[in-house]
């Protein structure tokens, strides 16, 4: 008997799917599902299982459909999937389309008030008596709608095995330790779980089991990482204007700066954050502050950058250090404010009229977001030019696992700034735009310098080395050539590409930014099919030089990016025209984070 039952258990175990599935939670925007979804995500993370959460939400405050997808994967592949194994359906309006994306043999948890017929006999179906369970909890009537979403947390937890202790911890995290909301939400979770014990029998194969894979990791979003990076980079001035999906970056500055950056003795601020009247003003203030010698920044998204382009062009030409975050959303035009893309790359590279070129940093995970957040100030001040960091909605607003943020490993580099004592040593002899060192980077003074020779007149008009107005043809030509030289000087300061190779690889894959998880997973799957690949994730523009060798070492390099026109591919072709026939564009953009399957299918078909 015993042997038999053990065998039965073993066979049951074989049919179990453990720590490898996707969950989609379909709700109505504004119903408070964020708390519930964040709780599911964080409690799984706290169980040590690799996980990611993506909020696919409408540009709307209340009423439109919204989805949250959770990817659980024991091997650490946490890119979004198009189809899910588990669907939690709380929105009758999207019932049919959501069900169509449920994988064969998947699980449907459905609010029992959604009385819609369906023909999917192969799926596992669990109705959820949401109202009934909420009614059991003593809660103010205005909270009941929000608490309704906690019911699915409890039901899911009981059925797939999320540890309740971890749910409690996740709630404590979410409510910052406030016991009242933690208790009331947790009570709903427990009651829902209790209902499952009494009424449901588990038939589906999906299980969670604790692991150690997230030990020592953190889970947060890129906009938080960006704000903290800036703060540890010594940001002194930030001016901004609200725009999805960049808003929370500035809000995080407002949240963290008072805690981290008050003078210890006097409680005075070493910073100022200003919500400007629009992006035209936000960038104007940031350029003014950068010119005045402050570590200055702004954060925005595509439409904001369109507005900022004139001042950024002035910043380039007048050589003003400033850091600009572009948390990209999909365009052109207003586009879809709540959907992601990598469509601003070529726009930013040459932003502004006339001959302009900008330094771009391209973080691909929250650790790089933090690191580039402080490093960008060093680069901007050393090169005396705007530095633009391209994040995106997925990286900025969704929760990503990462290593703990690392403290800056080098002192601040403030660039070539002359103060009173420096000018005394020079006997007042200097010129703002005179290339003394031959690296294209000239010396500057900033306001408040009381030396009588310190001042100069900054202008966006043609100027000579002394910043005097000049229409001299040679002068103009030389100035523009020197500006070009600055970008050569900048290269060693920029982050190098991350290159990962496989033994006996035959193809190269090149990308930027948040496509990283999907690419890693595709490479894994392609390798299983015998297609081995090397991978180069470019992290800065202008290209630093190593890109060339990588491209040369493969006959085919797939350039993977989330836009229509293959903008990274375009920039690579401009830089390395002789290698153009080795570059093959995979550019795809629909507003959602890239999936591994899409890239896998493309490369596999292309190889056939």
């Amino acid at each position: 008997m015993q042997t038999q039952s053990e065998e039965a258990r073993k066979s049951e175990k074989r049919s179990q799917i453990i720590n490898d599935f996707s969950i989609t939670i379909a709700t109505v925007n504004g119903s408070g599902s964020q708390t519930s979804n964040a709780t599911i995500l964080r409690s799984i993370f706290k169980m040590g299982i690799p996980v990611s959460g993506k909020n696919i939400f409408p540009s709307n405050i209340q009423g439109l459909p919204t989805w949250y997808t959770v990817r659980v994967n024991k091997e650490g592949f946490v890119a979004r999937e198009d189809e899910s194994d588990i669907l939690i359906e709380m929105n009758s309006a999207t019932f049919n389309e959501d069900l169509a994306k449920l994988k064969p043999g998947g699980v449907l948890f459905c609010d029992e008030q959604i009385h819609l017929p369906f023909e999917r006999s192969e799926i596992f179906y669990y109705p959820m008596p949401i109202k009934e369970i909420v009614r059991q909890v003593e809660a103010p009537p205005n909270l009941r709608d929000y608490l309704a979403n906690m019911v699915y947390v409890g039901i899911l937890a009981q059925l797939i095995g999320i540890e309740f202790e971890k749910i409690h911890q996740a709630l404590e995290f979410h409510f910052k330790g406030k016991s009242k909301p933690v208790n009331i939400n947790f009570e709903v979770v427990l009651r829902a779980a209790e209902w499952v014990k009494q009424h449901l029998e588990k038939k589906d194969p999906f299980y969670l089991e604790p692991m150690e894979m997230t030990k020592g990791l953190i889970l947060t979003d890129g906009n938080t990482a960006a704000a903290l990076g800036a703060i540890y980079g010594g940001v002194q001035f930030a001016s901004w204007y609200p725009i999805t999906p960049a808003t929370s970056l500035a809000e995080n500055l407002q949240n963290y700066l008072p805690k981290l950056r008050k003078d210890v003795d006097t409680e005075k601020n070493t910073f100022a954050v200003i919500q400007a009247e629009d992006e035209l003003s936000a960038i104007g203030m940031a350029i003014g502050a950068g010119w005045g010698g402050l570590r200055a920044m702004t954060s925005t998204s595509g439409p904001g950058l369109s507005l900022m382009s004139e001042y950024i062009g002035l910043g380039y030409f007048a050589e003003v250090p400033v850091v600009i975050w572009d948390v990209q959303r999909i365009g052109p035009s207003t586009g879809l404010p709540t959907r992601t893309a990598q469509g601003d790359l070529t726009f930013i590279a040459f932003l502004g009229h006339g001959d302009t070129q900008h330094i771009i940093l391209l973080p691909g995970n929250i650790n790089e977001v933090f690191e580039f957040g402080w490093k960008a100030f060093d680069i901007a001040e050393q090169i005396q030019t705007p530095v633009i960091i391209l994040s995106d909605l997925d990286l900025g607003m969704n929760q990503w696992m990462g290593k703990p943020f690392e403290y800056p490993d080098s002192p601040m580099k403030r660039g070539k700034v002359l103060w009173e004592k420096d000018l005394e040593q020079l006997d007042g002899k200097w010129a703002r735009y005179l290339d003394v060192d031959g690296d294209g980077i000239t010396y500057r003074t900033v306001i408040g310098n009381r030396h009588p020779q310190a001042a100069y007149f900054t202008r966006g008009t043609g100027h000579d080395e002394y910043s005097r107005y000049s229409e001299d043809p040679q002068n103009w030509h030389d100035l523009l050539e020197r500006l070009r030289k600055k970008f050569v000087t900048a290269k060693p300061l920029l982050p190098k590409p991350v290159i990962e190779r496989m033994v006996m690889s035959e193809i190269g894959i090149i990308s930027i930014g948040s496509t990283n998880p999907a690419i890693q997973e595709s490479r894994h799957k392609l390798a299983q099919q015998g297609i081995k690949s090397d991978f180069m994730r470019i992290r800065a523009y202008p290209f630093v030089g190593e890109e060339k060798e990588f491209i040369e070492s493969h006959e085919i390099n797939y350039v993977v990016e989330m836009n229509r026109d293959g903008q990274l591919n375009q920039l690579l072709r401009i830089e390395y025209p002789e290698l153009a026939n080795r570059l093959r564009s995979f550019a795809y953009s629909d507003g959602l984070p890239l999936t591994a399957k899409r890239l896998f299918d493309f490369i596999q078909q292309d190889k056939e």
Partner: protein
């Protein structure tokens, strides 16, 4: 590297900080002979000299246009930034956060302020940024050769552009309803008044708007235009004769008490206003609104200090900044300690 301005004539007259007027000069003007803007530049120089302000303590800002070019023609030893059209207010706001001890001086024009710049102008006012904001108002675009600006009189006829069909923007009026804490109007042909107003403005702890009618001798000096010399001279009615008394000076009031209104500024300096026949109180906002309305109705150019509120905190005051100017802070003050990041990591 500040350019040395060739001394023309003798170096005479040293002020309390040991500088002569030459130390406040700028580069030679490239504006037209007789341009009202040149006269205003001269009064900026005179005002700073007389106030004993080190030029290094003033920062100049401007936008785009003839007026904005003029920032190069005074205070050569002051830092300056010639920014974008209509967007000098944001530039100045950001820059002045770098060192709150400095005096900001912005020069704009009617094209710069009353068109693209109207938004930034109004927001500068509501924040009460400590900045002198001079509008050299001539009702016309000079650098692009004579188009109407938004402050041009309705019905004004210009050579190549016909008749202006639109109502004008009244800058002093916009400033007043926009909660500016210092609103003055003057006329470039009245240098004494211009100078005293600039002096008072430089000591005002907040935004100080000076709408100075500054005739364009080339494109808009038609006698009947509000922004012409002839019209200005004929129609100017000063609200009061004014003089500015810096804090350091001994105040010698020579007027009868009931003829003089004294307005004390934030730093203890005062503006003395001598009545000119009318009993006008520039701290009364509704009186200011009335006087501007009367001025429009009677087609006269009312000049002087129209409104002042010396008690409102300036923008920088609201930010609780360190005593040491922000741009002199170093890494020790700017980068939080290592332990703080370890603590933060534990919260994610």
């Amino acid at each position: 590297m500040t350019e040395q301005i060739e001394a023309q004539g003798k170096r005479s007259g040293v002020n309390l900080v040991g500088l002569t007027k030459m130390d406040y000069k700028g580069n030679p003007s490239t504006l037209c002979q007789g341009c009202g803007h040149n006269s205003i530049s001269s009064q900026i120089i005179a005002a700073c000299f007389e106030l004993n302000v080190h030029p290094e303590e003033v920062v100049k800002f401007s936008g785009i246009g003839c007026s904005s070019k003029s920032a190069y023609y005074f205070l050569n030893r002051s830092f300056g930034f010639n920014g974008l059209h209509g967007r000098m207010p944001s530039l100045a706001t950001g820059a002045l956060f770098a060192d709150y001890t400095l005096k900001g001086l912005g020069v704009s024009g009617d094209g710069d302020t009353a068109s693209i710049g109207l938004g930034q102008f109004k927001h500068l006012l509501r924040r009460n940024m400590k900045l002198v904001y001079i509008i050299e108002n001539n009702g016309v675009y000079g650098l692009t050769k004579g188009q109407f600006s938004a402050t041009a009189d309705q019905g004004l006829e210009l050579k190549s552009h016909g008749v202006n069909p639109y109502m004008p923007v009244d800058i002093a009026w916009e400033a007043l309803i926009g909660h500016a804490t210092f609103v003055a109007r003057s006329f470039a042909g009245d240098p004494k008044q211009v100078k005293e107003l600039i002096k008072a403005a430089l000591n005002h702890n907040g935004v100080a708007v000076l709408d100075i009618i500054s005739p364009c001798v080339t494109f808009n000096n038609i006698d009947q235009a509000t922004q012409s010399y002839v019209w200005g001279k004929d129609h100017e009615t000063a609200l009061h004769e004014l003089s500015f008394v810096p804090r350091a000076e001994e105040i010698l009031v020579e007027y009868n008490e009931n003829e003089v209104k004294e307005v004390q500024l934030h730093d203890g300096s005062t503006i003395l206003l001598k009545k000119l026949g009318r009993d006008y109180d520039p701290t009364d906002r509704s009186a200011a609104i009335t006087i501007l309305e009367e001025s429009n109705a009677c087609q006269c150019l009312i000049t002087g200090l129209i409104y002042i509120n010396p008690n409102q905190p300036s923008m920088v005051d609201m930010y609780n900044l360190t005593e040491k100017p922000l741009n002199r802070l170093t890494e020790v003050e700017l980068r939080p300690k290592r332990e703080t990041l370890l603590e933060l990591n534990n919260t994610f």
